[in-house]
C-alpha cells in the first residue's frame, strides 16, 4: 500500500487532487481511498488531504502519519506546514517550486528523493489561474510511476468537462518538466 499526503491551501484543489488520483487508481482495478483532513474549509488556509492506493482492499480509517509520498501544491506552505513530518526514509517529496531539489532538501533538512516543478508557472500559462492540483498530479505520476501516465486522463475529462483539455495539457506539461533528485 502506498500512502500519499497532499499539502496545499484551501481552494487550490488538494482534495480534488487526492480524489482524482484515487478515482484513476480504482479505474485501473486497484483499491484506493481519498479523504480530506476534515475541518471548517477556509479559502487560503493550509489544508491537508490523503490518498491510499493498494492492490488489496484497504481496511484503515485513520489519518496518514508516515506517508510514502508527500506532495506540496503551494510553495508558500513548504516551510510552515511541516510537510516533511513522518515522510518515510525511502519516501518521495514532490514540490511545486521554482527552486531545484537540492535547495528544497537544504531548507527542509531532508534526504529523501525530491521531485520539483514550477507548477504555478505552468498553471498560469495554461489555465491562467494559480491552481496547481492537476498540474501537480503530472509531477506525482512522473516521480512515483504509481499509475500509467494516461490513467488520469479519463478522470480529468469527467471532472473538468469543458476545461478538461487545458487541465490535461497542464498535467502533461508538468509530467515532462518535473526534475527528480534521487
Amino acid at each position: 500500500m502506498i500512502e500519499i499526503r497532499f499539502h496545499g491551501r484551501g481552494g487550490q484543489g488538494a482534495v480534488t487532487s487526492a480524489e482524482l488520483l484515487a478515482a484513476a487508481a480504482i479505474e485501473q482495478g486497484k483499491y484506493a481511498q481519498a479523504f480530506p483532513s476534515f475541518g471548517p474549509e477556509r479559502r487560503g488556509a493550509p489544508v491537508v488531504a490523503f490518498c491510499r492506493i493498494s492492490d488489496e482492499p484497504i481496511r484503515l480509517r485513520a489519518n496518514i502519519y508516515e506517508p510514502d509520498v508527500v506532495i506540496v501544491l503551494d510553495p508558500s506552505v513548504l516551510t510552515i506546514a511541516h510537510v516533511e513530518q513522518g515522510l518515510k526514509p525511502d519516501g518521495t517529496l514532490i514540490c511545486n517550486t521554482k527552486y531545484d531539489g537540492k535547495h528544497i532538501r537544504d531548507i527542509l533538512k531532508v534526504k529523501q528523493k525530491t521531485a520539483t516543478v514550477d507548477a504555478t508557472h505552468i498553471a498560469m500559462e495554461i489555465l491562467k489561474l494559480p491552481i496547481t492540483n492537476t498540474t501537480m498530479l503530472g509531477a506525482l505520476i512522473r516521480a512515483t510511476g504509481l499509475l500509467d501516465k494516461d490513467a488520469l486522463k479519463e478522470p480529468l475529462k469527467r471532472r473538468f468537462g469543458k476545461i478538461a483539455e487545458k487541465n490535461i495539457r497542464a498535467y502533461e506539461t508538468a509530467y515532462e518538466k518535473t526534475t527528480i533528485l534521487e
Binding site: A18, A23, I26, A34, R59, L60, R61, A62
Partner: protein, 391 residues
Amino acid sequence: MPKRVGMEVSIGASEAVRLANVDAIAAYPITPQTHIVEHLSEFVANGELDAEFIPVESEHSAMSVCCGTSAAGARTFTCTSSQGLALMTEIVFIASAMQLPIVMILANRSLSGPLSIWNDHTDVMLVRDCGWIQAFGENGQEIFDLTLAAFKIAEDHRVVLPFMVNMDGFILSHVIEPIEILDQETVDKFLPPFKPVYRLDPDNPVTMGAFAMPDLYTETKKYQDERLKASLPVIEEIWKEYGDLTGRYYHPVETYKAEGAKTLFITMGSFGETASTAVDTMREEGEAVGLCKIRLWRPFPYEAFWNAMKGVENLIVIDRATSYGGPGGPVASEIRSALYTMENPPKVVDFIAGLAGRDVAPGDYKAMYKRAQERIASGDIAGYEIYGVRE
C-alpha cells in the same frame, strides 16, 4: 459482476436510494446535511428519479413530512446528522410508533457543545430507544448494500417499521472509495414496489396516530416492542437474500479472527476496519486477539452475540459516545447487561474513544489492548476510561 467505481460514499448512498426508486424525499438541505440529499435533489431535478423532493425549513419538519408521505403510501427516505437528528427526535419516536417504514441514513456526528461537526456516535445514542431498526455499516459498500436492503426489510409486512442506516460522518460520508453499484434490473428483482398495509386514503378513511388512554398505552408499547424483536429473523432472511444476489452477506453480529481468541474487541461502524488491521498485526505478534462487530444495534441480536462470546475471556468495548455519569459507555452498558445471564461471562473493559473526529489509528487499538490487560490484571475493570485524554 458490476464494476467497482470510485465515488464518495455519500454519492454511493444516494445511488442506492435512486435505485430503490423512492417516491418521496424530505430533508433539511443545509448543515448538518451530507451530499446524499444534494445528489438526490439533482436526480429529481434532472429526471433520473421520479420522486417528490420536499426541502423543508427544519429537521423537525423533515421527519414530519416523511411521516405524512409514508402514511400516504409513498416509499420515503430522508437523511440527517447530529443536531439535525436532535431537532427531529420528537417525530422519530412517532414514526416507529405509527409503524411507518421510512428509511433514514444517519451520518453519525457529535452533538454540540462545544460546537463540533466531527464524527462520533453521540447522535445515534440519543435515539437508542426510539423503536427503529438500527444498523451500522463500516465502509461505503456496506452503506450502499444496507440502504437498499433497508427498504425491503422496513416494508416487509412482517416488519413495517422505520430503518436507520448508521454511517460514520466524514470518516465514511466524505471519503472516495470503490463501490459496486447494482443495476436497476437486479434491484427491481430484489425490491418489489411498496405495498402499504394501511394508507391514508380519502375514499377509505383510517385513523393513524391516535390518542391512547392509560388502559391502552401499555399494550401498544408491548406490541411495539414485540414487533421490533420479531423483525430480527426477517432482517436475517432479507440480508441472506441480498447476499445470494450480490455475494455480500451481512449478519447481525460479525467476527474477525475470533477463533482461538482470548480477547475480543467490540466495535460498531467504521471502527471495525481499522480494528481488523490492528488485530492482524497483534495476531502476528502472537496475541490471542480478535474482533466482534455489532452490525445490528436494534433489535439487539442476543443469540448471535452470546454465540460469539463462547470461550472468550476478555472483551474490550470501544464506545464512541459518553453516557455522562453512567455505569459505562452506551455500548459497554448493553454488553454487560447482555452478559449478565451468561455462565462464565468474559470480563469487560470499556474505552470511550474517537469522540468528535479524534483519530483512532491501529496503534491506538494496541495501546488499548495493553491498557486493558493491565486493568484486568489489577482487577480494575469497573466503569469506563476515556482513552487518549491529554492531562
